[in-house]
């Protein structure tokens, strides 16, 4: 049986209580009270690496502390299984690639074998992502509530691959997605649980000014002019060239320094091409720094965001864009495109500024550079908005509420 054993760490509830105040946790505690006597099982495909495992490492202890006994089971992988599920993953993201008949049979057979090895014995079972989706065929008993938590953007899913998975997905009692754009038509309720940031993590916890200065020095980012920063991978949909152009227009009126920081270019051929294009376009612009950061640069990103006067997210398309929540949590003034999940985080003129063009971005960046009190006002309002809506205890609360709802309507 593949149950993940988590090493004991500092009490999370207490940490959040200190960081956020007791009222922020009362709803989580309230739903947990409603689920007393029930046991929850989380299932995914890996205990280490990847965003889901990262979330579960915090979420499972938090749910246990809140009073809902929760275990975490992992399906075993094998090279062929990983190859098949990688193909499924890519196809769900819209990349071409067929899933052959043999691969389909293998996926079914492997899932059946895994179901025999796992306990899956909670009253409540949450299956994360497509790899273990077929386990729903092997419900242990009537009355169990099964929820499929899809972290994948299905907007451009390959229809054939989705048709292969859908017969399992429709057998769940409910599904959970991160953003409305990802939700396909399904018979059972599909709930939106926006992703969250962890205020106690390396990327988001408070940093001393001295630590921020040290990071800027190491990254060779000059500290004299106010920083305008966009943190995102080098991807055309993040519009880094549009950011450069907006900054070029803005600096005609106000001096500042632009930082374009991102990662993932090394193992992504298109990312490398975009990064090269960005570097070529920025060549000769002495007030622009382009940084390619390793994937574990959480502290560096934290410091860059905290050091910025303005944080940009000038994407052309977005899923949820958690970088916006990260910046707002740090009380930064944000200028962002009105796409995807961004308008949920940025309320125009209230928690940030929404734009829809290069000129709009240039105008709003200039406006913010000239107006420190507006930056402060938007940053403080943005922090309050994130505190209320986009932190990890809220995500935990929502998962429990989905099960409470299923128990309520199912009797």
């Amino acid at each position: 049986m593949s149950v993940v054993t988590l090493s004991p760490g500092p009490p999370l509830l207490e940490g959040y209580r200190q960081a956020l105040g007791a009222p922020a946790l009362r709803a989580l505690e309230g739903v947990a009270r409603r689920l007393r006597g029930h046991r929850l099982v989380m299932v995914n495909s890996t205990a280490a690496g990847g965003g889901v495992a990262e979330i579960l490492h915090r979420l499972v202890p938090l749910l246990n502390e809140a009073g809902v006994p929760t275990t975490w089971e992992v399906i075993e992988g094998a090279p062929r299984f990983y190859a098949v599920t990688k193909g499924i993953h890519n196809a769900l993201h819209g990349q071409p690639g067929a899933l052959g008949g043999e691969d389909r049979d293998y996926f079914r057979e492997w899932s059946r074998a895994q179901a025999a090895k796992l306990a899956l014995d909670g009253d409540l079972v949450m299956i994360h992502d497509p790899q273990p989706v077929a386990l729903v065929e092997h419900r242990r008993r009537a009355g169990q509530r099964w929820v499929w938590r899809c972290h994948v953007d299905l907007t451009h899913a390959d229809p054939e691959v989705w048709a292969f998975l859908a017969p399992w997905v429709v057998r769940y009692d409910a599904t959970v997605f991160s953003a409305a754009a990802f939700v396909p038509a399904l018979p059972a309720p599909a709930y939106l649980v926006p992703p969250s940031i962890d205020p106690l993590s390396e990327k988001n916890r408070e940093l001393e000014p001295e630590a921020i200065r040290a990071v800027l020095e190491r990254l060779e980012v000059p500290g004299r002019a106010p920083l305008v920063t966009q943190v995102s991978r080098f991807d055309r949909l993040k519009d880094p060239l549009g950011v450069l152009e907006a900054f070029r227009l803005a600096r005609r009126q106000e001096s500042a320094h632009l930082v374009l920081a991102g990662g993932g270019a090394a193992d992504d051929p298109e990312g490398s091409a975009v990064l090269a294009e960005v570097r070529a376009r920025a060549a000769g612009m002495t007030d622009v720094t382009v940084l390619e950061l390793p994937p574990d640069s959480h502290r560096d990103i934290n410091a860059l965001q905290r050091a910025s006067a303005v944080v940009l997210q000038k994407s052309l398309r977005e899923g949820f864009a958690l970088t916006v929540s990260e910046a707002l949590w740090k009380r930064r003034a944000v200028v962002a495109s009105a796409v995807g999940g961004i308008p949920l985080q940025v309320m125009h003129e209230r928690t940030g500024l929404l734009v829809r063009s290069v000129e709009g971005a240039a105008y709003q960046v200039t406006r913010l550079l000239r107006n420190p009190s507006l930056r402060r006002y938007l940053g403080e309002a943005g922090e309050r908005h994130v505190r209320a809506n986009f932190l990890l205890p809220r995500e935990a609360r929502d998962y429990l509420a989905v099960f409470a709802r299923l128990l309520e309507v199912g009797g």
């Binding site: 709930y191 209320a388 709802r405």
Partner: protein
């Protein structure tokens, strides 16, 4: 007499599948929206922005302002919802009236950029125990002073709006305790378009003021020695406050 069980609420949001690309799409979507959808977009935002200094506009107005960037229509939608958010049928009428005042051709051309469409959501409410059961109105107000925003929202806004027929209501219980004026204030509160924290502040202030006369009368009945001690304490508190204010003024 039995205490009042405070509850809280978690809102599970589900997309309805309806979308709007322009003001005409918004009009059609509002006309067809289920009550929980209208509730989510034009009332529940009070909870999402519970501690905003100033309550932002509802989701429809926010989209028209921030994404479509038609400020005049956004202002009208914000005003309409703020006036009618205590009554779903009136709310729908008011929002539609704003949009229908714009010629259809114009509604079609005032649109969102690619990827910026408005998505309509409904909501399932999961009511959970707050773990608090005040036995007196004084205790109730004390609990509400520190209650989590969702609990305050449920009792002040959501329950009256979505379950007007419910019997065990907060205001009903307050009335049973003999506090008719406060019960009426609770009934009227959703009409005023207040932010949640503003409503909380006003509720506590109103209750404290209403209790002032009662407390003074009770103190007047107290023995002379106790009244003297209370008087000295009051003067001492006043001096502390002046001193603190003075220090604040001289601070750099």
């Amino acid at each position: 007499m039995a205490g009042f069980e405070l509850v809280s609420v978690v809102h599970l949001v589900r997309p309805t599948g309806a979308r709007a690309r322009n003001l005409e799409g918004l009009r059609a979507g509002i006309a067809a929206a289920a009550p929980d959808c209208l509730f989510y977009h034009a009332c529940q935002y009070v909870l999402r922005f519970h501690d905003a200094d100033e309550l932002p506009p509802n989701d429809f107005a926010a989209w028209v302002e921030g994404v479509v960037q038609d400020r005049e229509t956004a202002e009208r939608l914000a005003f309409a919802a703020a006036q009618e958010s205590h009554h779903l049928a009136g709310l729908r009428r008011a929002l539609l009236a704003v949009l229908e005042a714009i010629p259809e051709n114009t509604r079609l051309t005032r649109d969102a950029p690619e990827e910026g469409e408005f998505r309509f959501h409904g909501v399932d409410s999961v009511v959970v125990p707050a773990g608090l059961a005040p036995g007196t109105v004084d205790e109730l107000v004390e609990h509400l002073r520190g209650a989590e925003p969702a609990s305050l929202f449920y009792h002040l806004y959501e329950r009256p709006l979505l379950h007007p027929e419910a019997e065990d209501t907060l205001e009903g219980w307050v009335e049973q305790q003999g506090e008719r004026a406060l019960a009426q204030w609770l009934r009227d509160c959703p009409r005023w378009g207040l932010s949640l924290e503003d409503a909380r502040r006003r509720l506590v202030r109103r209750w404290n003021r209403s209790q002032l006369r009662r407390r003074l009368a009770a103190r007047a009945q107290a023995p002379e020695s106790e009244r003297r001690r209370a008087g000295k304490q009051a003067v001492s508190r006043l001096m502390d406050r002046w001193r603190a204010a003075g220090e604040g003024e001289s601070a750099p």
